[in-house]
Symmetry: C2
């Protein structure tokens, strides 16, 4: 049976529900094995989600997933079982909650910490609209470190609406959960319900219930019924303890490694180079420190963290705090490296401006998963960073053409006394690289031609080479420049180019990136500037080459545009 029906679930016995859970678990495991996706987190939440669907009445009641790493069972139970094999595939179902996909998904998520705020807003709207339904926020313990959750907790007594918060506590975020909030949960988990810890939650104006074994249907059903009743009186936090990776020994034992599963890339990972290079540099320079926000492994920093534990800081899912921490360490002569995914750095935007660049501090942002990221979809594409960094004073922005150049940039960064951002995709080629200087482009092809392509980053350099081949077929030559710094631009080189047609390529939104900067430079110069980047829309999930092709970086389109001007 692969067509899980909510209705049947309502009348099933506990034994039948347990069978259902095993079927769901197996479907998730098999599907993720093929499609990639979030495995351990979803395996841990099967019973909890089944119990929620049994006790509550979706879509009338609203279920909001924080982050959304646990929504697969919900998707399977809400009419999407037949399409579940298309998980994360282009045109298929998303790996995250999506309002456009189903009325059962009431709020889109992807970044951590939004669910409680969203639940309070939906609850308050319900009250104002005079409606009657339950609002449930399902939040992992990792998110409970995030400042946004705290801001929402602080708001409970202001908003006076009643929602059910389910704290799904598996003791892990993506890396093991760290910090003070975690220790409170740990103690509640171990020793039942010590008064002072419960008080911590209750101070904010909610009733604490639990802990409950979240992998046990028998325990969950009465606990949820009780919480459902209690939430009519006040906001309830039900503490549910689950096991990440539940049911598959391989996942249970390696929940970090199986949090996200993807088809292994045949390319080399930039993150591995970060770990290697930064460790080597730190060996020579004791001022180097590294900071991450709950992503040490995915960012490749495990070797650094193991070798230099006293200079390594994983602060949990706290992107803002990590940024201020980097800035302040930088005021004292240290050399902080803050590694983070492009999309998550959006959370620290104000701190990049206010703390790091406002004080012109020597912080290096290592921005991983920049550009289109593919299967995770809208909330995870790293296509805005060049746009949101380009106008920040004091910041240099580097875009390596391959892993060898990334290494060079890291080496260079140790001598650079100002804010620096280096942005790179997940994977690429090691390649080779000449020496790198801040603000200096590299000429890759230079012949007699009226066309020059200025491309940033590995994918776009590759694309430039392909465009060049196509142009050759049309009897045209073209030059290629590795535009490896968005800021500062290589003004000397730009001034020296004599080509009439300048083409820019970047793996970023077209608005506000490299194309804008070069167009601005050549303003009123008489040159034709053609810029290519992503269109002004949110990129859905899909394969990166296909996203590039469809949303603004299609080779034929680029060649066609160039030919239009070249043949005038």
């Amino acid at each position: 049976m692969n067509n899980f029906k909510s209705r049947e679930l309502k009348n099933a016995s506990v034994a039948q529900l347990n069978v259902l859970c095993e079927e769901l678990r197996s479907t998730i495991y098999q599907t993720v094995s093929v499609c990639g996706g979030h495995l351990s987190s979803n395996l841990g939440a099967v019973e909890l989600t089944v119990a929620l669907h049994r006790v509550f009445d979706f879509p009338k009641d609203k279920l909001i997933f924080d982050v959304g790493h646990q929504c697969y069972t919900h998707k399977l139970l809400s009419g999407r079982a037949e399409k579940f094999h298309t998980l994360r595939k282009e045109g298929g179902i998303s790996g995250f909650p999506k309002r456009e996909e189903s009325v059962y998904d009431c709020y889109d998520t992807g970044h951590a910490g939004t669910a409680l705020s969203a639940a309070l807003g939906i609850g308050k709207a319900r009250d104002l609209n005079g409606e009657d339904f339950h609002v449930i926020a399902l939040i992992g313990d990792g998110s409970f470190q995030n400042g946004l959750i705290y801001e929402a907790l602080n708001s409970l007594k202001i908003l006076h609406t009643k929602v059910l918060i389910i704290l799904n506590d598996n003791g892990m975020s993506i890396s093991p959960t760290v910090g003070g909030a975690h220790e409170v949960l740990e103690e509640l988990r171990q020793s039942g319900k010590p008064m002072e810890d419960v008080a911590l939650f209750e101070r904010f104006g909610l009733r604490y219930m639990g802990p409950v074994n979240g992998n046990c249907i028998e325990e969950l059903l009465p606990a949820l019924e009780q919480a459902k009743e209690a939430v009519r009186e006040e906001t309830v936090l039900l503490h549910v303890v689950t096991q990440k990776g539940r049911g598959y020994p391989f996942c249970e034992n390696a929940p970090m490694q199986t949090h996200g599963v993807g088809p292994k890339s045949e390319q080399k990972e930039y993150s591995a180079a970060l770990g290697e290079e930064l460790s080597a540099l730190a060996e020579k320079d004791e001022k180097i420190v590294a900071i991450t926000a709950a992503m040490t492994d995915s960012l490749g920093l495990r070797p650094f963290f193991e070798r230099f534990p006293e200079r390594s800081f994983d602060v949990g899912i706290c992107e803002e705090h990590a940024s201020v921490l980097a800035a302040s360490l930088g005021t004292q002569g240290l050399k902080p490296y803050y590694a983070i995914y492009s999309t998550f750095l959006q959370r620290a935007f104000d701190e990049i401006i206010h703390d790091v660049c406002g004080q012109d501090l020597p912080v290096t942002f290592c921005i991983d998963r920049a550009g289109a990221t593919g299967a995770d979809g809208e909330t995870h594409q790293g296509v805005f960073d060049l746009s949101y960094l380009s106008f920040i004073p004091n910041l240099a922005i580097a875009i390596p053409k391959n892993i060898a150049e990334f290494r060079q940039m890291l080496r260079l960064s140790t001598e650079y006394a100002h804010p620096l951002a280096i942005r790179y995709p997940r994977a690429g080629e090691e390649g080779e690289c000449s020496s790198v200087e801040i603000g200096k482009f590299e000429v890759l092809h230079s012949t007699m031609s009226d066309i020059v392509i200025m491309a940033a980053g590995e994918r776009c350099i590759t694309l430039a080479e392909l465009v060049r081949e196509e142009l050759h077929k049309e009897g045209l030559d073209c030059n290629i420049v590795n535009a490896r710094f968005l800021k500062p631009l290589d003004e000397a080189l730009l001034n020296s180019r004599s080509e009439k047609i300048v083409v820019t390529l970047e793996d970023n939104a077209k608005i506000g990136g490299l194309g804008s900067a070069i167009l601005d430079f050549y303003r009123n110069s008489g040159k034709i500037v053609l810029s290519f980047g992503y269109e002004d829309c949110f990129l859905p999930h899909g394969e990166v080459p296909s996203l590039m092709e469809k949303y603004g970086l299609g080779r034929e389109k680029i060649v066609g545009e160039i030919l239009k001007y070249a043949r005038r």
Copy 2:
């Protein structure tokens, strides 16, 4: 005596310190009366700062002010008394901590919630560098609602460094403090030290001490000495209760109104129009709700809050949460208006993308204090919003030319079912306005001319008129277009213009704003596009006209540039 010396302070008796406090208080009061600035918050912190200077050894020890609304006494005691009369004046001393200004200022602040993260970073750096000094974070209770503080608290057990946190609790942020965190403080203040509330802090790995009367030198000195001793063992939170506005009955009784004091503008405030208009609209449309982050009065929303309390949400200094709250209310058919200063909206950048625009929800951002804001300096200029909003899909961006047009835009917004940002300065003219349509510019002057100025916002429309007058003197005419939507651009109008020279003016960073968008539109069209906005630097404190003149929007410079091209 106006030359307060730290050294004398070390040997003074308590009676002498009390005299000193009165002198400091009087100096602050008199200076702020002339220069403007933050009055009540600084008056409340005089004794506390004097006691800190007595007990600690600055600048060897490091004092970090959260926000910085309480740093005047510190400035007076650290060699800046003689220059204090230049407070907030161009070239004079800043109203906020500034590393460039004094070695006594170790970390720049301006936005809320950064001080604890910064203290932990500086403390950790001290430990790594093998140094020995005290690190003190002075944090107002308003900031304790902010998510960033929570993220830093969560980090105490990760970072293992020892700092002294002084919670300066006056029961107010800018508006009275609200929310769950506040109630905990309130109870501690009222009833001494109930165990479960202290536990709330201690759970994070710090020792709670206090509460102490923060306006009483006799109480403060031993409490600080004790805390100084205790912090050698562990991080300490010393709870100090002060009275905002202390010493001046007018300020004590109206701390909100005297939080920030400035020379009263002769112009009308856009915020007043927001309050009036939104209240009138809400009268007819019960779906309208308003959200602020601790700035209800400054944003003009008091009338709305009084008239529609059930539809009004002040969530405290929680800009991110406010944004998600707006998004989620919007999913349920409500029409949320989130009013906020331009510089503070930077904190909600990720949520604008991830929650509001990612889901294409009908949230209107009312962005006050946009453009150069003047005397508060670098951390408060609103000159980045056009740049950081321009590339976000689904968002319309409106820039009214006067208050009448702002009203029209607000009326229009009630019918607009997508995300909308309206950005405006503090004050301007009521003026008049024709009807407004989303994405439609307005032609203000159209004659036979080869030059058109496209200006956005009141200041730049005014500047355009002045430039036009200057051009007249040179025998040239020019047209003026009110470019009131950065997004969507009025493509029909742009296509219809026949002028050869297009000049853009905007009260925003030049990179990534209106100038970039119009340059992009006219790419390869043969038109000359000249764009003027702020240069790529942080604007210091100073008068707005002077900042415009010096940093990129000088009338003569603009006229000169136009003439260069017009006479070719």
